[in-house]
């Protein structure tokens, strides 16, 4: 599927997410578990602040000199006998890979989990070839594929929204599985099924966690080992990578693998971290034909501008795992294959505000994302920056009107207007105010509260009661004046 996963309006998606109680419970449980694991893994490493600075520096350096690193990497891939293709768009990338499959006469494609292949909608493109089978080999992606390409809801845990009963159902209906819903049994069944498919695969497609510029190798990390089989068995391998995913050498790849593993899954290293390129003389397995497809697809929109730091991302998903909004609306709520804070920043960069303008507003700016990011992307600040671009530069209107917000700007910047506001609000709130029921103490202290307010305050009172403000002569400034005059008398 392309970046956008849903044609439903944002509010419809939110309502659907709220009805999905399993998803909400699963996300909360996953977040809580990862909170402990991730924190422990980072504390165990020690000097976390300094490690983050190093990781940030590596990523910033690569982004700063991106064309040079891409050139170095491409030269080294070609020196090893591989091929490099630069794709400006998703279609260019997918068409090129489809043509490789046709030229090689491939009929059995195996893939390992890759967000960028989802982004360019590669599976659908390959399936246009008559007789072609495309198999996702990551367990979660395999489940989604068998469920008629259901949307992933997390960049590291794509099936977070599915429970074991649903997965059993999918395996039963699509693959004839007749065992129980025990995850171990389900996984063993998938292992056997996928193993048979691996052995007849003639084209392997992988993503790329990091591309090593000075050696022309790519670095992939998994826990299942599926990427290694994709890179071992088929005669041809196609690597699809976002154009920013480079590192200078094995040394920096090693640093980032550590940061990625600890941040994504709370492990010191994932079970498999592999550095691989085209087969060399004497070796039997591994790709004889090695293609790297380097994808822009909107990433260059971020270069040289306010959003450049989003290209530092190493796709660990930690920001999803700490996000209180993601906790409730889940991946589907965002309507992008990149959900959560990173998705709310990245999706509009890649595809614009018309498609994804709602996402930067779907944040309380709590800063948990910026705090956890292992490469120090200031995510919550970039969300504000998106809002600024929409309101100040593009003059887009977001649900309540700009005139009102600009009015607040004038009022909060003009002392005389603010004094007026403090004077009238108690009276103004009078007709709206209710006296009961009051279940709280020391909250509704000035004669009632508002349960249903118009205009800007409606969103507030849709959810919570608003205390009636004090009378002008009972507000804080009046108290302070009186307090000072009493003090001077005594």
């Amino acid at each position: 599927m392309p970046i956008k996963t849903s044609e439903q309006p944002f509010l419809t998606r939110l309502a659907e997410s709220e009805k999905d109680h399993f998803m909400q419970a699963a996300v909360a449980k996953a977040q809580d578990a990862q909170w402990d694991k991730r924190t422990a893994a980072r504390q165990d490493l020690g000097n976390w602040a300094q490690w983050r600075e190093l990781a940030e520096q590596i990523r910033q350096h690569v982004v700063r000199y991106l064309p040079d690193y891409l050139e170095e990497f491409a030269d080294n891939v070609e020196a090893r006998g591989g091929h490099v293709f630069f794709a400006k768009t998703d279609d260019e990338a997918a068409d090129y890979i489809k043509q490789i499959a046709i030229d090689k006469g491939a009929q059995h494609v195996v893939k390992s989990k890759s967000m960028v292949t989802t982004e360019i909608d590669l599976d659908k493109k390959l399936l246009e070839i008559p007789g072609m089978s495309v198999l996702e080999s990551d367990l979660a992606e395999f489940i989604l594929e068998e469920d008629d390409f259901d949307e992933p809801t997390h960049i590291v845990f794509p099936t977070l929204h599915k429970n074991r009963d649903q997965i059993r159902e999918i395996f039963h209906n699509k693959l004839g599985y007749d065992g129980d819903n025990d995850p171990q049994h389900l996984a063993r069944f998938a292992r056997k099924y996928l193993r048979a498919s691996f052995l007849q695969a003639d084209l392997g497609v992988t993503g790329c966690n990091f591309a090593i510029a000075d050696s022309g190798m790519i670095n992939l990390v998994t826990n299942e080992g599926n990427a290694d089989l994709v890179m071992a068995i088929p005669k041809t391998q196609v690597v699809v990578m976002g154009m920013e995913r480079l590192v200078p050498s094995l040394k920096e790849a090693e640093v980032l693998d550590q940061m990625l593993s600890r941040s994504a899954v709370g492990q010191k290293l994932t079970s498999y971290a592999t550095f691989a390129g085209r087969q060399v003389d004497g070796e039997s397995d591994g790709p004889e034909d090695f293609y790297v497809v380097i994808v822009d697809n909107g990433r260059s929109n971020a270069l040289g501008g306010d959003f450049e730091s989003v290209l530092q991302c190493i796709r660990c998903g930690a920001c999803l795992n700490v996000c209180p909004v993601y906790r409730h609306i889940g991946g589907h709520g965002y309507g992008s294959i990149y959900p959560g804070p990173i998705g709310a920043v990245l999706s509009p960069v890649l595809r614009g505000y018309k498609e994804f303008g709602d996402l930067p507003f779907a944040s309380s700016l709590c800063g948990a994302c910026s705090e956890t990011c292992p490469v120090k992307i200031p995510l919550h600040k970039l969300l504000i920056k998106h809002r600024e671009v929409m309101e100040n530069q593009l003059h887009m209107d977001h649900s309540f009107n700009n005139v009102l917000m600009k009015g607040i700007g004038v009022a909060t910047g003009t002392p005389a207007m603010f004094r007026m506001a403090m004077g009238v609000d108690h009276a103004m709130f009078g007709p709206l105010s209710k006296q009961a029921p009051i279940s709280t103490e020391n909250f509704i202290n000035h004669g009632g509260f508002v349960k249903s307010a118009p205009s800007l305050a409606k969103g507030w009172t849709d959810v919570r009661d608003l205390p009636r403000p004090p009378k002008h002569d009972e507000n804080f400034r009046a108290w302070f004046k009186k307090h000072k005059s009493e003090a001077s008398r005594s």
Binding site: L14, E18, W35, R38, R42, W48, A49, V322, P324, V325, R327, H328, I329, A362, S363, S364, L365, C366, G367, A368, E371, I384, R387, E388, V389, N392, H398, S399, F400, M405, K406, I408, G409, V410, T412, T414, P415, F418, M422, P437, I438, S439, T440, N442, F443, N445, F449, A457, W460, D462, V463, R464, D465, P467, P469, N475, F476, R477, W479, F480
Partner: protein, 266 residues
């Protein structure tokens, strides 16, 4: 020492009790307070909504107002608003007239609990409150201001007060400024989880250093008909004070705040 009170618009408009408690506590420990009358708002409502251009005037006004009085420190009863003042130098770095003033302002501004603990060196404010309470940690005070310690240290020393840890302390309450009115569908789910967490502690009182979060959480309590008493930390420290109980702390024994959001383990 002279302290200018950064009252914040929410205290000015809604909660005189909090402002009064803060002033009384500060004066009790020898501060000479003034309330700059031209101050209004830190600018977050418009800035965080993307109306950055419209916020320039708000920030200018706040700087002029707060620096316009003679004071050694500027102290406010809200971690979030104080964090915004601390970010002024970044927001105004290209403003020839206000860049330097923004830095001056930021350097002398403190959140209330921070000021009491780190500048006044008060460990036990002499307060007494016979109850069971839990504390809501605001996101901006924790992550943007980097203060994770002062309120807890001060609460530990309130006589008679039993503190119960709040589960999921790390999660936002769903306020988020304009977020709460612009995205009520999401905000409601967040605040409901927060209300449930508070209820699970069986605390009688909910305490925080950010009245805006409290307005959100307790407004939801009231809507749901659930019971809770709300207190700003300043009100707690202003309860039944006996100056004989007051204890100070040496500079060397201060527990670090925890750094900025960029320097955490989590």
């Amino acid at each position: 020492m002279k302290v200018a009170i950064f009252s914040t618009c929410i205290i000015d408009l809604m909660f005189p009790n909090v402002g009064a408690a803060m002033v009384e506590v500060l004066e009790r420990f020898g501060c000479e307070t003034t309330l700059p009358v031209k101050q209004i708002c830190c600018g977050q409502p418009t800035f965080n909504s993307g109306y950055v251009k419209e916020t320039q005037k708000v920030m200018h006004n706040e700087i002029d107002a707060l620096l316009g009085v003679d004071a050694d420190y500027i102290v406010g009863p809200a971690g979030s608003c104080v964090a915004m003042l601390k970010e002024y130098p970044e927001h105004l770095k290209d403003d020839p007239e206000y860049a330097a003033k923004a830095q001056t302002l930021a350097d002398k501004t403190y959140e209330f609990s921070q000021f009491v603990y780190r500048i006044l060196h008060v460990l036990d404010a002499g307060a007494q409150l016979e109850t069971t309470a839990t504390y809501h940690r605001s996101c901006h005070m924790t992550r943007l201001l980097g203060e994770r310690t002062a309120p807890f240290e001060l609460l530990k020393h309130v006589d008679g007060l039993t503190m119960v840890p709040l589960p999921h302390l790390e999660n936002c309450c769903g306020f988020g400024g304009m977020f709460s009115v612009k995205e009520p569908e999401i905000s409601r789910q967040m605040v409901d989880e927060k209300v449930d967490s508070v209820l699970s502690t069986k605390a009688e009182v909910l305490i925080s250093c950010d009245q805006a979060c409290l307005m959100n959480i307790v407004g939801r309590f009231n809507r749901r008909g659930e019971h809770i008493k709300v207190m700003h930390l300043a009100e707690v420290l202003n309860s039944n004070v006996d100056m004989d109980r007051v204890q100070y702390i040496d500079d060397a024994d201060l527990v670090p705040g925890g750094g900025t959001y960029a320097n955490q383990n989590q």
